[in-house]
């Protein structure tokens, strides 16, 4: 276990968390509870593999992943906003649905419930940046972009106002529904990309329930990062470190079950002890 491998592994594990948490920020700042991240990521991961499988191009796969995540975001938006479903139940229900549909589709497409065949994955750099995924830099750029949009543009200000007080936004004549939809759709796109990264960056295949709770961890990362894109990036690195540490312990003859749980335990500890004074958007979950 040397420091360099842990550092590289930390970056690798933190990318999907950064992306999903950034998405979560858009959703929650718009006032919609984003417990649907897991389903968005899983659908993104699956669609990315499908896209890459049928076109042979990783880029097409990633685009399919983004689309699938956005679709789940649209469903979550329609259920929450149009049909006034409890947003936690809508999220959890969609997560269950995506898990079922992806498993079913795998069986239908490839006759295998466990995993998909290998497909073309996202390219990695060679040369100076050898081994680094293209996605590392895309993620950094997207985080910066999210920060700019959220904190420095008129749209971001309106989105945040909508999440804090939909009534005030309504009074100002802002298109509250549209803003909320935009938040949840952006969230879906980010999570779809995160899912595409999970399936296409290293394994290059889809495994059943491969997100393994990362959507929920990303939800906590977003809170831990005080609903700020840069905070989310730092929080994701923090959680990514524990994932990397856990991975570095594998294959050393120790019982793997004992340290596989490390990221989950850290998540529990963080949500219990570390986020008490972090204020959530006031209008969260309200209509």
């Amino acid at each position: 276990m040397n420091i360099e491998t842990i550092w590289i592994s930390t970056i690798r594990m933190s990318i999907p968390l950064t992306l999903a948490a950034t998405g979560s920020i858009f959703c929650e700042r718009a006032g919609i509870i984003s417990l649907v991240l897991e389903g968005m990521m899983l659908s993104g991961a699956f669609a990315a593999v499908c896209g890459s499988y049928y076109t042979g191009s990783a880029l097409a796969g990633v685009l399919c992943g983004i689309l699938a995540g956005t679709l789940i975001g649209l469903l979550h938006g329609i259920l929450s906003l149009r049909y006034k479903v409890n947003q936690v139940i809508s999220g959890v229900g969609l997560n269950l649905l995506v898990t079922a549909v992806t498993t079913l589709s795998m069986q239908l497409l490839w006759g295998n419930r466990g995993n998909s065949p290998q497909v073309q994955g996202i390219p990695h750099f060679t040369g100076v940046l050898s081994g680094q995924s293209v996605m590392t830099f895309i993620t950094l750029a997207l985080t910066a972009g999210a920060w700019f949009v959220m904190m420095k543009t008129r749209y971001g200000l309106r989105l945040r106002l909508t999440g804090e007080s939909p009534e005030a936004a309504q009074t100002l004549g802002l298109p509250v529904q549209k803003l909320k939809y935009s938040g949840v759709l952006v969230c879906g796109a980010f999570c779809g990309l995160a899912g595409a990264y999970l399936s296409l960056d290293h394994l290059n295949l889809f495994v059943r329930e491969m997100t393994a709770g990362r959507g929920y961890i990303a939800y906590v990362v977003a809170i831990f990062g005080r609903y700020h894109p840069v905070g989310a990036l730092l929080g994701a690195l923090f959680f990514g470190f524990f994932d990397a540490f856990q991975i570095s312990l594998q294959g050393k003859g120790l019982p793997p079950q004992l340290f596989v749980v490390l990221p989950y335990v850290v998540t529990i500890l963080i949500i219990t002890f570390a986020v008490k004074n972090i204020r959530q958007p006031d209008g969260l979950g309200k209509l």
């Binding site: 149009r82 139940i89 229900g93 898990t99 549909v101 393994a212 529990i268 219990t272």
Partner: protein, 358 residues
């Protein structure tokens, strides 16, 4: 109140179930399967013979427990999504106590074993309750994360300290004195189902007829009012999560002592998560859980049979369950779908005028 509301909720649940069947049927048709063939095979696999009915009951039993567990927590306004983990904890505790040769008479040993499962599941649930009540931790996250902890912890235990000799990661058989009695000599059905039915009545009695139960439902429906009325919210939240986890824990213990007779690594095939759909279909009413568990148990049993005999995709039943959860929570969506369904039907039969009135 409430008879009317209850009937209305029941109808809503029934329509949601039918809608879920229709949507998944359409999905099957799109995928090139014949929906009626698959549903027919599932039904005959679930009710077609005595052994099929027994299998349905066996599959329904853990669902009753997890459905009740979900309802109990949700009556206090909490989402317990940690039933899966609580089932595992209850199961491993039961396997450990049931596997000891204590020289006790069977009824005492069975009681002790089930108690162990109940307490293990309950404490695991109460953990999330304490985190919520004392630190405000979102229970959706904490219970889901605790699932991973429970699954891995029990997996460690059956792979290392409690592993029985042999290639499979499982514990020793439980002692004969700790096994739940079978209902008839020839079938696999154990007394677990009776215990499950009893638990349903007990939950209904507790929530509907006792002071503590009233405190729980008030806390769930209006936390501020409850606080004003002097209900100790924190205690109630922790109590609700404890009991919820305990019910799921007994479910796990019953599965170990009644069906599997030992703890096999990863034994719960999503029984905990299915409890969410069971509770949704039952419109959060304890006795209706018995009905909805039979429905979902039948789907499971039918799918198991289907899996053995054919290679038809059986994950359709998980799709149905997820759709039920969504549809039950979205009455307005169901209304919309219903009316567009009527319109479509009207158009198909050429009775547009009537359809417009719907």
């Amino acid at each position: 109140m409430n008879r009317k509301i209850k009937v209305k909720n029941g109808m809503q649940a029934l329509v949601s179930l039918l809608m879920a069947f229709v949507v998944s049927g359409i999905l099957m048709a799109i995928c090139g399967y014949q929906p009626f063939l698959i549903f027919g095979a599932i039904i005959s696999g679930a009710f077609g013979s005595n052994s099929a009915i027994v299998q349905t009951m066996i599959q329904a039993t853990p669902l009753i427990f997890s459905g009740l567990a979900y309802i109990f927590a949700s009556k206090a306004g909490m989402f317990n999504l940690g039933m899966e983990g609580q089932i595992y904890m209850g199961g491993i505790a039961a396997a450990a106590i049931g596997g000891m040769n204590l020289g006790l008479p069977a009824p005492v040993h069975i009681g002790l074993t089930l108690c162990a499962g109940m307490i293990a599941g309950g404490l695991f649930g109460a953990l999330a309750g304490v985190m919520k009540a004392c630190f405000g931790a979102n229970e959706v996250i904490s219970t889901l994360m605790l699932n991973f902890v429970a699954i891995n912890l029990t997996s460690y235990l059956v792979n290392y300290p409690l592993k029985a000799p042999g290639p499979v990661a499982q514990t020793q058989n439980v002692m004969p004195s700790a096994m739940l009695p079978k209902l008839s000599a020839h079938s696999q059905l154990s007394a677990a189902i009776l215990l499950a039915v009893f638990t349903a009545f007990a939950v209904r009695y507790f929530l509907g007829r006792t002071a503590k139960g009233f405190d729980i439902t008030v806390t769930g429906s209006n936390r501020k009012a409850a606080q004003t009325a002097g209900v100790r919210i924190r205690r109630i939240l922790i109590l609700a999560m404890f009991v919820s986890g305990a019910i799921a824990g007994i479910g796990g213990a019953c599965h170990i002592t009644g069906v599997d007779r030992r703890f096999v690594d990863g034994f719960s095939a999503g029984y905990g998560f299915d409890g969410i759909a069971v509770a949704a279909l039952a419109s959060n009413r304890p006795l209706m859980v018995l009905v909805s568990s039979i429905i979902f148990g039948a789907l499971r049993a039918g799918a198991l049979r289907l899996n053995m005999t054919t290679n038809l995709p059986t994950d359709f039943i998980s799709v149905i369950q997820a759709l039920v959860v969504i549809f039950v929570a979205a009455p307005m969506l169901v209304e919309d779908l219903k009316s567009s369904g009527y319109k479509l039907a009207g158009r198909l039969t050429g009775r547009r005028k009537e359809a417009k009135e719907q």
